[in-house]
């Protein structure tokens, strides 16, 4: 192994690590605010890539149907909830959020998809569809159980994950898709060449991390989410709605998934069931961050990416084994260095 190979592997590792980092951030965000282990995170990635791929074939993607279906269920749940509480004055607002907005996105995509859009517009459509799925998933699957234990929420997550994989197979078929690269450019520094695509991934991930930081530090909604993450009951007492916090969190997580999907599409072939392994690696990164620290989770994901890339060179047959074994020393180290807090139910 010489230096140029090592540098190529580092480049590959960082590119994949950046995508795992986006997922790790989504996992940490969802867990801290809602206590949900977000198993279906990976499905949002695959939905992102495959929706974009479908749009490129000028077909309305199957996710549009899912969006409408979820919106209908969420709408019915809202009508039932407001009828039960006799709080009819809230209904129009809620229906606007859970039914009108998703329906508008779906109608728009359905109308423009066959016309063949430019790549940036296709990306906007993709991110809009997949992001809109997040709050709907929360409303339908998690909100009725928001006060349940972490274990129950995990079980719901597994169910959501399996359902979304099955729907993915139905929507997109068993074979994978690739999307065209955003840029065919490559840069040369000495002997080394960097593909524009990997630089773009890295740049974009950094931008998203920066935007998230601004959101949490500078905006009211961001602060509300942080408050909910720190102390749910306290946040509720000062008037932060846990439902709003949950929906918002899932929206952000779905958006991170959609971005990852759009970014990873040109680098690799994505299948309906690719998401789980990607999110599992993001999960290893998030565990390194103790499911609570954003910077540590991002660094952990980079470590996972690098480890994966180097182990694929040295021992390709054992690559996954090496990557997932990493979690054992990390858990040991964390259990030795941190105090265990009993969850207050």
């Amino acid at each position: 192994m010489d230096l140029s190979i090592a540098l190529l592997l580092v480049q590959d590792g960082i590119t994949n690590g950046a995508i795992y980092a986006l997922l790790a951030l989504a996992l940490v965000l969802v867990f801290t605010v809602t206590r949900v282990i977000f198993v279906p995170a990976g499905e949002f990635v695959t939905y992102g890539t495959l929706t974009l791929a479908a749009l490129q074939l000028n077909k309305p993607p199957g996710t549009v149907g899912l969006l409408l279906g979820l919106a209908a269920v969420a709408g019915a749940m809202e009508v039932y909830a407001t009828a039960r509480d006799r709080a009819w004055h809230r209904l129009p607002g809620r229906l606007a959020v859970y039914v009108a907005v998703p329906a508008a996105i779906a109608a728009l995509v359905w109308a423009v998809a066959p016309a063949g859009l430019a790549l940036p517009l296709q990306i906007v459509c993709t991110v809009a569809i997949v992001t809109a799925l997040g709050p709907l998933l929360y409303r339908v699957a998690y909100q009725p159980l928001a006060e349940a234990s972490v274990l129950v929420l995990l079980i719901v997550s597994v169910a959501a994950h399996l359902t979304m994989i099955g729907l993915g197979l139905w929507f997109f078929g068993a074979e994978g898709s690739r999307t065209p690269p955003f840029t065919g450019e490559s840069f040369h520094i000495g002997d080394m060449s960097f593909s524009g695509q990997s630089l773009l991934v890295l740049l974009f991930s950094l931008m998203v991390i920066g935007a998230l930081w601004l959101f949490f530090d500078r905006t009211l909604y961001g602060k509300a989410l942080r408050a909910t993450a720190l102390n749910r009951t306290g946040a509720r007492l000062v008037g932060i709605s846990p439902n709003l916090a949950g929906s918002l969190t899932f929206m952000l997580a779905a958006m991170l998934g959609a971005f990852s999907g759009v970014l990873i599409g040109p680098i690799t072939t994505v299948y309906y069931d690719s998401g789980f392994l990607i999110s599992l690696k993001g999960f290893v990164g998030a565990i390194i961050g103790g499911l609570s620290s954003y910077p540590l989770a991002a660094l952990g994901s980079l470590l996972v990416g690098l480890l994966e890339s180097f182990s694929s060179f040295w021992a390709s047959a054992f690559k996954e084994v090496i990557v997932f074994t990493l979690i054992i020393p990390v858990l040991l180290w964390r259990s030795l260095t941190t105090h265990h807090h009993e969850e207050d139910e």
Binding site: A174, G176, T269, S312, S316, A317
Partner: protein, 382 residues
């Protein structure tokens, strides 16, 4: 629920009543899970067949999905035998499932026709494999074709990258044997998983070994991942794929990077380009035109062809068995097994079957052709 019980019993009776008169074929295949891209065309093929009539008897296909999972395949087989009282089992799509199902069919003494590739399913011939047949070509047949083509192209060193599963392992064993016979040295062996987002590490290591040719042993679109990476890293040698990639989705994903790649395949893939005298041409044409008529142009895959071939074997064997016994009896199943073993000169979509007690696959060299990818099309290498 209580009030429904008599109704359900009546319905069950009705089902049994009609079923006893027909021939029931139990099909378990991998329509979901990792092998879905192989299992779906097989399922489509059986659905396309509907309920045909063979030898004056109506044939029912009872199709179950085993989710590419071994346990599920065994469970399905037990269910088909125990509840549906089938006369023959067809399946499964993948080798591990088929291997596990053998024990069940031998115990119940029911013939089974597998649609999975490995020769291990039917070899060696012993009491256990007596009841088991298979329609896809043995990997060894395909590996020999690859080695012969490599030798003709002046290849002396070969790099290998394949799936880290039964498919890849089987190919690695076979290509090692074939390459040795052809005097080709394997200089690098790498493995990857079908869902890996990146194979840069493996590809760099292959390139460092500087082989004349590289064989990628994967199935479906995942086999495009190392292919595209090799081209992107400027590999100039020949790239070989296996017959696992023979579907339109692979061509779509590999795009122009696929140009010039060679692979062994069932002749069905390029049946239009076969010589008119080739016995496979007619059977393949019948299958492909029917299949593409229903599922759209270019939807053909050789995997669906294996399902069609399983049906053709039954079409040959069932009339023979009917002469000896009635469907639903043990005597019929024994007769069906014997009839399957004596099928001769049956032209299927992927080759010509000549079964014997020693060979429960029955294919010869007519079951393989070398195919080249040229601008998104399969071109027969003559």
């Amino acid at each position: 629920m209580q009030s429904l019980k008599p109704l359900m019993a009546a319905a069950a009776l009705l089902v049994c009543g009609t079923a006893l008169a027909d021939i029931n074929v139990g099909v378990t295949l991998s329509a979901t899970g990792p092998a879905a891209s192989l299992g779906i065309p097989e399922k489509n093929t059986f659905e396309m067949l509907g309920s045909p009539t063979i030898g004056g008897q109506k044939v029912n296909f009872i199709i179950l999905d085993d989710k590419s999972d071994t346990t599920e395949a065994v469970k399905n087989t037990r269910k088909l035998i125990g509840e549906d009282k089938v006369d023959v089992i067809v399946g499964s799509t993948v080798t591990p499932n088929s291997l596990a199902m053998r024990d069940v069919v031998v115990e119940a003494e029911i013939p089974m026709v597998s649609m999975a590739a490995s020769a291990l399913i039917i070899n060696p011939v012993d009491p256990k494999t007596r009841w088991v047949f298979k329609t896809p070509q043995n990997d060894s047949l395909m590996a020999d074709a690859v080695a012969i083509s490599m030798k003709a192209n002046g290849v002396t060193t070969l790099g290998y990258i394949g799936f880290a599963d039964a498919y890849g392992d089987s190919w690695l064993t076979e290509i090692k044997r074939s390459a040795q016979t052809a005097g080709i040295k394997i200089v690098a062996e790498e493995k990857y998983n079908r869902n890996d987002p990146s194979v840069t590490g493996q590809v760099l290591k292959l390139l460092a070994a500087k082989p004349d040719a590289i064989l990628i042993a994967g199935s479906g679109t995942p086999a495009a991942t190392p292919h595209k990476e090799l081209v992107a890293r400027g590999y100039k040698g020949k790239i070989y794929q296996t017959h696992g990639v023979a579907n339109a989705d692979f061509l779509r994903v590999v795009g122009k990077d696929g140009n010039g790649a060679l692979l062994p395949a069932g002749p069905m893939l390029v049946y239009e380009q076969l010589a008119d005298g080739n016995p496979v041409k007619k059977s393949a044409a019948a299958y492909v035109s029917k299949y593409e008529g229903k599922y759209g142009p270019d939807s053909r895959t050789t995997f669906g062809g294996h399902a069609w071939d399983a049906y053709l074997l039954l079409e040959r064997a069932i009339p023979e068995a009917l002469k000896k016994a009635q469907p639903g009896t043990k005597a019929f199943r024994v007769a069906l097994r014997d009839a399957l073993e004596s099928v001769k000169d049956a032209a299927g979509a992927n080759g010509v079957f000549n079964m014997s007690a020693a060979d429960h696959n029955g294919f010869d060299n007519r079951a393989r052709v070398m195919v080249k990818i040229d601008n998104g099309k399969w071109v027969l290498v003559k």
